[in-house]
Amino acid sequence: MKEEIIIAGFGGQGVLSMGKILAYSGLMQGQEVSWMPSYGPEQRGGTANVTVILSDERISSPVLNSYDTAIVLNQPSLERFENKVKPGGTLIFDGNGFHKFPTRTDINIYRIDATEYAYANDAAKTMNMIILGGLLKVRPIVQVENVLKGLKKSLPERHHHLIPMNEKAIQIGMRLIKKVN
């Protein structure tokens, strides 16, 4: 099994940490993982993206030009990455603030209105976990149990009490995601 994922959005949307949680989850189920962020000033308020690869075998290139799954959280990221999803692959977008929507017909497109939900329910901090839940519903590449183990591993102990809240967010995401094509 090998899954090549790009997650892209604005800085502050939790793009890099969502990628990190995925990578830790892969680690927990004994897979090879790589997490390659865009770095530098891009992180601060501009666009941020991260390439995450989970694989049963040694990973060659950590930098890719096409992806099995793209998660795009803003308009520029959709424009940049829609065409880079492999045919038959998956595109997930959060529709908040979008005025142009994905058009490809050879890939599976899903919408998850996590931003809207998070603001309505005062859950902005777990917005990225809602999206991760959506991803795991349509692409069950890691088990939720391993995500929670990964969280435990990556979070400092003083934050471990937040894990149940994150688990709840994953469940919400699984309910929110909808196929749109």
Partner: protein, 368 residues
């Protein structure tokens, strides 16, 4: 989970290449790190400061006022026979060249990590490999060489930090870990090296009898110095250094091959680019093209003999770098005109993609 499983789980960690350097340095008994922040490698000093190794191993970590000062602090520490290191990225390494030349002239062992970014000038913070010439051809003045290790993974960032210290002290030279922004910034699985205690002063006196630890009545003063006003003395030092470099060239070449056995075409690439090229080779093989990859792990000493031998068996070579083509010179010297050697690269912080590499292999070598 039993205890040994738990232990094994704890040993495999997920971290950035830069973080792996910091942890490996603490664990291999490094005595002192001196540095100045610059993207994309600042996590090295940040991690060290977070770890506070002065409370555990006694390692000194100091943020200097400049890269000039950092490299001279390394000189001072290395002169005491201590395991000293610094790290920076391309513009900062340029600023260190004076000190690097002095370290060579004074025959001091030390480790420098360069997480390369695009240049020239202030350039970009994005990854690059355009410091190859500066590193292996001598960026500072005078005839000197640095052992150069080119990690291609987070694991190698840790392993090469340890290896660099071993080689530096084996030959009394600078060993550079030449990484790029991708390797520094990406997270991968890593198993950190085991803890080694720092050397005691008595051990240092055994290992490095030239170290300036204070002069006991029983010996002549130790003087760390690169000044030789007499030309004949200076030539003698140069001859000694050159002798040591030949020894390094004979003993320390490291490289890795991928799908080379039956290959008709071989890509030569190092660091991140080698990872991209491995993917390109996988894609080529899927199309029935007999492609392979040779990845130099040491850039100095360069795997000249291995590339030369390969040239007798294959039809063409493609060198891929994140530069305008620097290592390709050394590949061409090794091949010496026997088969075509072409170059493909991206510059200014752009990482070539696997399909670009495959396209270059087809157009520049296979269907030339």
């Amino acid at each position: 989970m039993n205890d040994s499983e738990k232990h094994n789980m704890e040993e495999v960690r997920l971290m950035k290449g830069n973080e792996a350097v910091a942890h490996a340095a603490i664990r291999c008994g490094c005595d002192g790190y001196f540095g100045y922040p610059i993207t994309p490698q600042s996590e090295i000093m940040e991690t060290l400061m977070e770890q506070e190794p002065w409370n555990t191993t006694g390692m000194v970590v100091l943020q200097a006022e400049s890269e000039t000062s950092s490299i001279n602090m390394v000189y001072g520490a290395a002169g005491c026979g201590k395991k000293a290191m610094t790290s920076s990225s391309s513009p900062g390494i340029s600023l260190m060249q004076e000190g690097i030349s002095y370290l060579a002239g004074a025959e001091l062992p030390c480790v420098i990590v360069n997480v390369m970014r695009g240049g020239p000038g202030l350039g970009t913070i994005q990854p690059s490999q355009a410091d190859y010439y500066q590193t292996v051809k001598g960026g500072g003045h005078g005839d000197y060489k640095m052992i150069t290790l080119a990690p291609a993974s987070v694991q190698e960032m840790a392993d090469h930090t340890v290896l660099a210290f071993d080689l530096a002290f084996k030959y009394r030279v600078t060993a550079m870990v030449l990484a790029d922004g991708v390797i520094g910034q990406m997270m991968e699985k890593v198993v950190l090296p085991p803890f080694k205690p720092r050397w005691t002063e008595n051990e240092i006196r055994q290992i490095s009898p030239w170290a300036t630890l204070g002069k006991p009545a029983t010996r002549e003063p130790n003087i760390i110095n690169s000044l030789r006003l007499e030309a004949s003395d200076m030539e003698e030092l140069n001859l000694r250094l050159q002798g040591r470099y030949r020894e390094i060239e004979n003993n320390e070449v490291l490289f890795e091959e991928f799908s080379v056995k039956d290959a008709e075409y071989v890509i030569v690439a190092f660091g991140t680019t080698a990872r991209v090229c491995q993917k390109a080779v996988e894609m080529a093989r899927a199309e029935g093209i007999k492609a392979g990859l040779l990845r130099p792990i040491t850039l100095y000493p360069f795997p000249t003999v291995e590339i030369s031998n390969l040239a007798n068996k294959i039809k063409g070579m493609l060198t891929v770098e994140m530069s305008a083509g620097q290592m390709v010179d050394d590949v061409r010297l090794a091949v010496n005109g026997r088969i075509p050697v072409e170059f493909f690269g991206r510059m200014g912080g752009i990482v070539p993609s696997p399909d670009e590499v495959l396209h270059a292999l087809k157009t520049k070598i296979i269907h030339r």
